[in-house]
């Protein structure tokens, strides 16, 4: 991606990132083949795609859970592969935190909520005085909408939504700048999803956070994200601003993904046309001129150079026609 936006500060830059598992062995899995994108400070970047598309792997590599196979990941201008030693890693993780998918599996069942949230503070040597630390835990619980009486309870005593709030409180404890939410709401009920999403939105405003929001629920992603990246089989296929993506989905895969979301509207569903995507479509033989190309400002498509004009025309038509998937 070119440095097209000067006024926005990039917090994350990913260039040609690759991640293979069992590299060089017979059972090698190329989870991520070629992914490049930027995340700007203060925005929510949504990452969508089906299971196996490499979206979670991307999130994990970004927070340095495991080494990457190729490419470069820069966080605040620094190459994260150069981070070494406990001290540097602690600093890095203090700045970047993660909220996990399964609210039960990601909380230690044998310690109380106070220790779960306070543990993060202890590890980072913040609030060394235990009384002050407890105060801070109460503050955090209240910030995520839990009462401080809950501090002495165990995870099993909470509902899924409450557990996810504990997970969020833990991530917020060290006052990070950047939070990766990996399918953070997928396991929750509809009414609770809305609560958690609204909470994440409020917290972002209050604490100047930047989010990477990984999910497969496209309607929720649209609602929370400023920009969205669509991944499929280890490649980033389309990156655009959220509104633009839903108005003018250009890549056939994005189109099929959007057309597959069931909308809560029977009349819509009766008249809806679904498009199917043939993965052969982006199996280019000659990869030299293939890559993420900018079709319109801030709108990127993975395609061959010769296809750029085609996509530009398609975009013009879609913008003229107005919204398709409402």
């Amino acid at each position: 991606m070119a440095a097209e936006v000067k006024e926005k500060n990039t917090i994350v830059e990913i260039h040609g990132y690759k991640k293979y598992f069992n590299e060089g062995k017979k059972n090698e899995v190329q989870a991520v083949k070629d992914v490049s994108f930027n995340i700007y400070e203060g925005e929510t970047f949504g990452l969508v795609g089906e299971s196996g598309s490499g979206k979670s792997t991307t999130g994990r590599s970004l927070i340095k859970l495991g080494d990457i196979t190729g490419g470069q990941i820069l966080y605040k201008g620094k190459d994260i592969s150069k981070i070494s030693g406990r001290k540097q890693l602690l600093d890095f993780r203090k700045s970047m935190q993660m909220i996990f998918q399964d609210p039960y599996a990601s909380l230690n069942p044998r310690i109380t909520v106070k220790d779960i949230v306070g543990g993060a503070l202890k590890v980072h040597g913040l609030y060394k005085d235990s009384k002050k630390r407890t105060e801070r835990v109460y503050e955090l619980l209240e910030a995520v909408g839990l009462s401080k009486e809950f501090a002495n309870r165990y995870p099993k005593e909470f509902s899924g939504g409450q557990c996810q709030r504990v997970g969020i409180a833990r991530a917020l404890a060290v006052e990070p700048d950047f939070i990766i939410a990996d399918e953070a709401i997928s396991a929750l009920d509809v009414s609770i999803q809305a609560q958690v999403v609204n909470l994440l939105k409020d917290l972002k405003k209050e604490n100047n956070l930047t989010y990477l929001f990984i999910a497969h629920d496209l309607s929720m992603v649209k609602y929370i994200s400023d920009r969205i990246g669509v991944m499929n089989s280890g490649r980033m296929l389309e990156v655009a601003e959220a509104d633009e993506l839903y108005q003018a989905p250009l890549h056939p895969y994005t189109e099929s993904l959007l057309s597959a979301i069931p909308t809560p509207d029977p009349e819509n569903e009766r008249t809806r046309v679904r498009t199917e995507y043939d993965p052969e479509y982006h199996n280019y033989k000659d990869l030299t001129k293939v890559g993420l190309h900018e079709i319109a400002p801030e709108h990127f498509i993975y395609c061959h150079e010769d296809e750029i004009e085609l996509y530009q025309k398609k975009r013009e038509r879609l913008m003229r026609e107005g919204q398709k998937y409402a």
């Binding site: 509809v190 609770i192 609204n198 309607s219 929720m220 959007l258 597959a260 809560p264 679904r274």
Partner: protein, 364 residues
Amino acid sequence: MDNTNVLEVKDLAISFKTFEGKVQAVRGVNFELKKGETLAIVGESGSGKSVSTKAVNRLLPKKNSIIESGQILYEDKDLLTISDKEMQSIRGNDIAMIFQDPMTSLNPTMQVWRQIAEPIIAHQNVPAEKAKDKAIELMKLVGIKNPEQTHKHYPHQFSGGMRQRVMIAISLACEPKILIADEPTTALDVTIQAQILNLMNDLKHKMETSIIFITHDLGVVAQMADRVAVMYAGQIVEIGTADEIFYNPMHPYTWGLLASMPTLDIHQTDLYNIPGSPPNLLHPPKGDAFAPRNDYALAIDFEQEPEMFKVTDTHYAKTWLLHPDAPDVTPPAEVIRRKAKYEALFTSKKISSQVGGEAIGSRG
């Protein structure tokens, strides 16, 4: 779709024994299933939707579940009182089930054709060789590619979507009259989900099966359902045709559910959320169970449980707001938008019957 009932559930109440006491999971559920229709049951986890339908197939654990009251009528028989042996001849034959997780509900050590053929052999007394041909035919029907080879595969050799197709093939093996699908697509990706839902709709039309579709995804409901029942805290709080529920909802809980779903409309700015969490059914609250979370709760909601008020012949809702003496309230903006869409659809004659907005009386 004709109007005969294939299944009637009357006043069903189910509790579970736990260390802390009795959990009243289902508290008086009434519904009927018509021939060839899809009835969707929606609700949050713990609302009793799975428990009610498991009772239909008598799949609840005998050890700790108690049927407190009720009848489940299928072909003039009460499924709750017939013998285990009689139930066995119905389960999987007349009433089949599709479960949520295709990985844990298939046998990992058994070739898939054997699993598909199992109900055929058990119920129809067909020799294995013939059942195998039928199984391969079924695999073709549900869209599994190359079944002549893949019928010998084990579940782990299939993807999630293909495994769910195997599950559907098993459930269809005996051409059941009733198919109970318990969150059949929740574990799948949207694109695969769309394929499976299309498949189920096609098969329904081909085989005239009645489907009970359990889900918490209102988008899926809109795509599948002829009628919708909304469950909360072990009770049906609103039931009606899909159009009535989506365009003219009456119960504040249904309002909340619809308003808390993000739409793909690019102009949406804020998302409504229902405050709090569902009640503990160890001690169900007095009055309307939804009252503590309800922005529209009236004083009476905390005292007395509302009855099912009739809106139209097909539409009922359990809320005091439908009582003639209830004050007028303004529903969330999203619900008003939906009602307007309904009016517009009606005037353009796309929908045949109009939904009445007034409470006509109560069914008591």
